[in-house]
């Protein structure tokens, strides 16, 4: 009995020992979980317990120099679904029907997303406008949710598209400045870390951490919306008239500060719809490729990528004769010639064992240095380059910043390619802008230095940063890269280049009343002889004290004329004609010009035909009598109108005869003979605008007319037309 009782106790003690062993295991396990794995579990727990909501930073706006908004962000919504909720409510069909109809999303894709019942939130479409989201919200469908999102708007559509660029679905900058300045524009998202229970409701603790969002900075560009618009208008017109095969670009800059006032590229696109080609010429080109299906899609996206590219900064090209401005300036600066030195052009120059021709194969004959520049005479420049020698030539080339990137705020800026070692032939061809490449931006910066007094300025497009209220917080000042030529040389160059426009190959850019200087350029694209050209013109105004400089280039003109003087110069002229008055410049007519325009039409109503004729003739006007009456009953234009010399005044002598009007035909691109026929048919009178003493031949084409085509004018009105040699360079 006692033995038995004690064995019971022994067994109880043994079992107790097992219990204690079990407790020790628990203690060990508890320590393991809390101390060894604790950190990890704690982190994972915190992850699931906290709701980390992003407080989106507002993306900064982009302004033009006058604080016009070029890009801004607005609140939009993100439509999401909760597959678990849809599964619970079994309303997949309604969800699909609604979302496909209103959001135009892919049905198959949407059904796949609904099947993902392991998730509570799947994004269906981002950046949905509130009005669209409201249409869905109104239907009150279980499982469809809305989150805050933001969408980028570009109020001016395609304005400066390749400069500004656009953002993607998550408001990240994809192209242009939106991309380069993404960090500044985007700001820093804030966060709200709040404790939540398993159903995503907030825990009743003050367990919240709020990190405010830092809104992105606003960016003020040096671009002027108005100048940009004018530039785009005329570039677009040149693009369409010349059926450019490879687009075109134009830069307008303040030569004294390097500030870009406009930068346009064609073909262009609407920043609000960057993936759609709207340009008819580009669409026609795609159509002409006769591709189908995938091939077409590939060509289409290649075309899109190309039209996004900022040709003015990214694409390097052979500048052709526009580069002669640099060579001329270098030659004057180095004293190897002067404005009055005489040269002889025979149309060819023998270099090493090769004959290198002038663009005018019959030669320019005897000409001064200034005339050589005006004629864009290649042999003159080959001679100058030869006098400078390879080393000095190359040093000048470097000094003008043509071997380095300008450091401009656009992605993918290139710096072109120059000869590693400059041989005699290379030196000769380089003198007229061939066998090396630079970018349009490099060229306009270099030419600015030629005409602004010799200072190479860093081209820039960012004027300032602002806070989110548009208040300037950081300003950028002009940056001088280096002084390249002397003030005297620059003065001489301005004068020479003004003559290029007033009397030389750059006549197309001449604008009555303004002093414009410039230089044409035409370069044949490689391989030579394929008939593909880049026509360009760089012009500045006012010629004596430049405030703006404009470079425009037209890549692969396909409508006949290919010369820079024929097609690029007139476009720059038109830009100048719009921009200069905008900048506050009033036309200053020369004596002859002023006289020509200042004839005031007298009142001839009630006068006899003979009296009227005498009166008008004495003032330098021409009368055109309509009808067989004796007295003038109506006159066009009315008395008081100011007319050019030799303008026609219509005198109607019978009631009811008056009112004959004509539509001005478009003669741009026509030769003189065809233009004359067109005007005759329209009942108008063609007047050839003065352009030096050059004889107009069938090789000359009309580059400018006034009034513009399609204007409605009185019959017999004079239309002034400017002709230049089609290959003039």
């Amino acid at each position: 009995m006692v033995r038995k009782r004690s064995s019971v106790k022994k067994r109880i003690k043994n079992i107790t020992a097992f219990f204690l062993a079990g407790v020790m295991v628990l203690v060990g396990r508890l320590g393991w979980i809390q101390f060894v794995r604790g950190g990890e579990y704690k982190r994972l727990a915190a992850e699931q317990q906290t709701r980390d909501s992003i407080v989106s930073a507002k993306r900064g706006s982009i302004y033009d120099r006058n604080m016009k908004v070029l890009a801004q962000s607005a609140t939009a919504e993100r439509v999401t679904i909760n597959p678990q909720e849809i599964d619970k409510h079994k309303n997949a069909e309604v969800v699909v029907e609604t979302l496909v109809k209103i959001l135009r999303v892919d049905e198959k894709d949407l059904r796949e997303k609904i099947k993902r019942t392991d998730r509570q939130s799947v994004v269906i479409k981002k950046q949905v406008e509130k009005s669209v989201a409201d249409r869905i919200r109104k239907k009150n469908i279980a499982g469809i949710h809305f989150e805050e999102d933001s969408k980028r708007y570009y109020p001016y559509g395609s304005l400066a598209a390749q400069v500004i660029g656009f953002t993607g679905a998550d408001s990240q900058g994809l192209e242009g400045l939106e991309n380069v300045l993404d960090e500044q524009l985007r700001g820093i998202d804030g966060r709200i870390v709040a404790a939540k229970d398993v159903s995503n409701n907030e825990m009743p603790y003050k367990y919240e951490n709020y990190i405010p969002a830092q809104d992105g900075k606003g960016v003020v560009l040096t671009i002027d919306e108005t100048i940009q618009r004018y530039t785009e208008k005329h570039l677009q017109q040149a693009y369409e008239e010349n059926l450019l095969g490879n687009g075109g670009a134009a830069i307008v800059m303040d030569p004294n500060t390097g500030e870009i006032l406009a930068m346009a590229v064609v073909p262009t696109y609407d920043l609000n719809e960057p993936r759609v080609i709207t340009d008819q010429l580009l669409l026609d080109q795609l159509e002409d490729m006769e591709l189908e299906g995938e091939e077409y899609d590939k060509a289409y996206s290649a075309a899109i990528t190309k039209m996004w590219r900022n040709k003015a900064v990214v694409d390097s090209y052979e500048p052709g004769s526009t580069f002669k401005t640099i060579v001329a300036a270098s030659a004057l600066e180095n004293g190897v010639t002067n404005e009055h030195e005489s040269f002889v052009c025979t149309g060819v120059r023998h270099v090493a064992n090769r004959d290198i021709h002038c663009w005018k194969t019959e030669g320019h004959g005897e000409e001064t240095f200034t005339q050589g520049v005006m004629n864009s005479c290649n042999p003159v420049f080959m001679e100058l380059a030869s006098r400078l020698g390879a080393t000095r030539f190359e040093n000048c080339f470097r000094a003008f910043g043509l071997t380095e990137k300008t450091g401009f705020t656009i992605p993918g800026e290139s710096s072109g390619t120059f000869h590693d070692s400059l041989g005699v032939v290379d030196l000769a061809t380089s003198s007229f802008g061939q066998t090396f490449t630079i970018t349009p931006l490099q060229l306009i910066s270099a030419v600015s230095a030629v005409v602004n007094g010799g200072n190479l300025m860093k081209p820039r497009i960012i004027k300032a940063y602002t806070d989110n209220n548009g208040k300037i917080i950081e300003n950028f000042e002009p940056e001088l890269v280096r002084n390249v030529i002397s003030e005297q040389t620059s003065v001489k160059m301005r004068s020479i280049l003004e003559q290029v426009v007033s009397e030389g190959t750059g006549k197309g850019a001449y604008v009555n009343g303004f002093r414009i200087g410039g230089k044409t350029g035409t370069s044949e694209k490689l391989p030579r002889g394929n008939g593909k050209y880049i026509a360009s013109f760089v012009g500045f105004a006012p010629a004596d004290n430049p405030e703006i400089i404009c470079l425009l280039l037209l890549d692969e003109p396909r409508a006949g004329a290919t010369g820079g003087g024929a097609i690029a110069a007139p476009a720059v002229g038109k830009i100048m004609e719009d921009v200069l008055p905008y900048l506050g410049h009033k036309p200053q007519y020369t004596e002859e010009n002023a006289q020509a325009i200042s004839i005031t039409v007298p009142n001839i109503k009630g006068k006899t035909v003979a009296e009227a004729t005498e009166k008008l003739q004495s003032l330098g006007l021409v009368i055109s009598v309509k009808g067989s009456g004796e007295k003038v009953t109506t006159q066009i234009p009315e008395a008081g109108t100011k007319l050019h010399k030799d303008s026609v005044v219509l005198a109607y002598t019978q009631e009811g005869e008056e009112g004959g009007t004509a539509i001005v035909p478009n003669v741009i691109g026509m030769n003189m003979e065809n233009a004359q026929t067109a005007f005759k048919n329209a009942g108008l009178v063609m007047k050839i605008e003065a352009s030096g003493n050059e004889k107009i031949t069938s090789e000359h084409i009309a580059v400018k007319q006034s009034p513009q085509a399609d204007s409605e004018v009185a019959e017999g009105t004079n239309v002034y037309v400017k002709f230049v040699h089609r290959d003039s360079d």
Binding site: V8, K13, I15, F19, V23, L30, I33, Q34, D197, M203
Partner: protein
């Protein structure tokens, strides 16, 4: 007072350490229950709902404890058969007249309160075996095979009823307690191994009949593979315990109780304790249970008769075994079973029955020859 409390083997007085331990566990349990139940109580609108209910049950339980402590435990020997017949009837009546809660029918309604017979069954079985093994005629488990079979038969009778109620944790406790008492009574170890093997086979068999039980077992080893399913509560428990560190997040500061832990105020209340009070709190709770077991075992070893020994051992074992299994589950050593932590988990019947049993234990301690303080 000091003089008195140090008297050795003082007769007629309850074990003071035990009483203090019990009351400490009870109070501690109520405090933690209040903390753990707030999130779900908040949802129902009244944050005191749970604690008022549990507090009320505790008062009822303390009354039972006081009564039982002053009621000679030998009466239970007398009424053993009656108690067990009533318990078995109630157990088998549950599937017929009981009501469902949390997907299982384990409770029957007694007027305004619900009653869970399986809680009572644990103590009825202890009384049954204590009575049986203290009787010379039925105490032989070493050679009397008939007796062994009868004993296993009684365990099976209760176990089957639990199975009908889908109450596996109760079946496990009943089987383990019954087995432990039989071992103490001298059951040859070969039967233990035999039954242990059979039990394991049975559990495996039952496990295979319901794939969710098999998954629970698999989830134990790789909870993250079952993150959204059966692994969820294991992971949540680990997160809670792991977040605690040395001193915890502070009383009432558990985050996991916000319905990440599926049964924060019940099966997983120990996880909340570990999260709020850290390693220190977790160890403190274990220490209280160890203290309790030490006193319970001491009472059993020094009881004045065999019935007292068996009864005290059985009652102590119920608490100890449930605590081990519950904490084993919370610390993911054992598969999830739905075991409650005595004194802590919410549950009216359990509280009343446990406190009643504590009264019995205290009563045994009165006549026990232990060192009392």
């Amino acid at each position: 007072m000091k003089e008195e409390t140090e008297v050795k083997g003082k007769k007629g007085q309850v074990d003071f350490i035990l009483l203090i331990t019990i009351l400490t566990l009870l109070l501690f349990g109520l405090v933690m229950l209040f903390s753990a139940s707030t999130p779900s109580a908040l949802q129902d609108g009244n944050i005191y709902a749970s604690i008022i209910k549990q507090g009320g049950m505790s008062i009822l339980g303390i009354i039972c404890m006081v009564v039982a402590a002053n009621y000679d435990y030998h009466y239970f020997k007398k009424f053993s058969r009656l108690i067990n017949v009533v318990t078995v009837v109630l157990m088998y009546a549950v599937p017929l007249i009981g009501f469902a809660s949390h997907g299982a029918t384990r409770q029957i309604s007694l007027g305004p309160i619900s009653f869970q017979p399986s809680e009572l069954a644990k103590f009825s079985l202890v009384i049954f075996f204590a009575n049986r093994f203290s009787d010379r005629r039925t105490s032989d488990l070493a050679t009397d095979k008939d007796n062994i079979i009868k004993c296993f038969g009684v365990i099976a009778l209760y176990g089957a009823a639990c199975f009908l109620q889908s109450h596996m944790s109760a079946a496990v406790v009943l089987a383990v307690i019954g087995m432990l008492m039989m071992i103490v009574a001298g059951l040859p170890m070969k039967y233990f191994y035999l039954m242990g093997g059979a039990g394991a086979a049975l559990i495996a068999g039952i496990g295979l009949t319901a794939s969710y039980r098999l998954d629970r077992f698999k989830a134990l080893f790789d909870p993250f593979a079952y993150e959204r399913g059966i692994g969820w509560q294991i992971i949540q428990s680990l997160y809670a315990v792991g977040s605690g560190g040395l001193f915890g997040l502070g009383l009432g500061q558990s985050r996991q109780k916000f319905r990440y832990l599926p049964e924060a105020h019940n099966d997983y209340i120990y996880a909340v304790i570990c999260e709020e009070l850290g390693f220190v709190g977790g160890i403190l709770v274990m220490a209280l249970f160890v203290l309790f077991v030490w006193r319970g075992i001491s009472i059993a070893l020094n009881a004045k008769d065999k019935f007292g020994t068996y009864l005290a051992f059985g009652i102590t074992a119920i608490i100890g075994v449930q605590m081990l299994i519950n904490m084993g589950v919370v610390l993911s050593i054992l598969p999830s079973t739905g075991m409650q932590l005595p004194f802590f988990s919410a549950g009216g019947t359990s509280m009343i029955v446990i406190l009643g049993a504590m009264g019995i234990l205290l009563n045994i301690s009165k006549s026990s020859k232990i060192k009392k303080m």
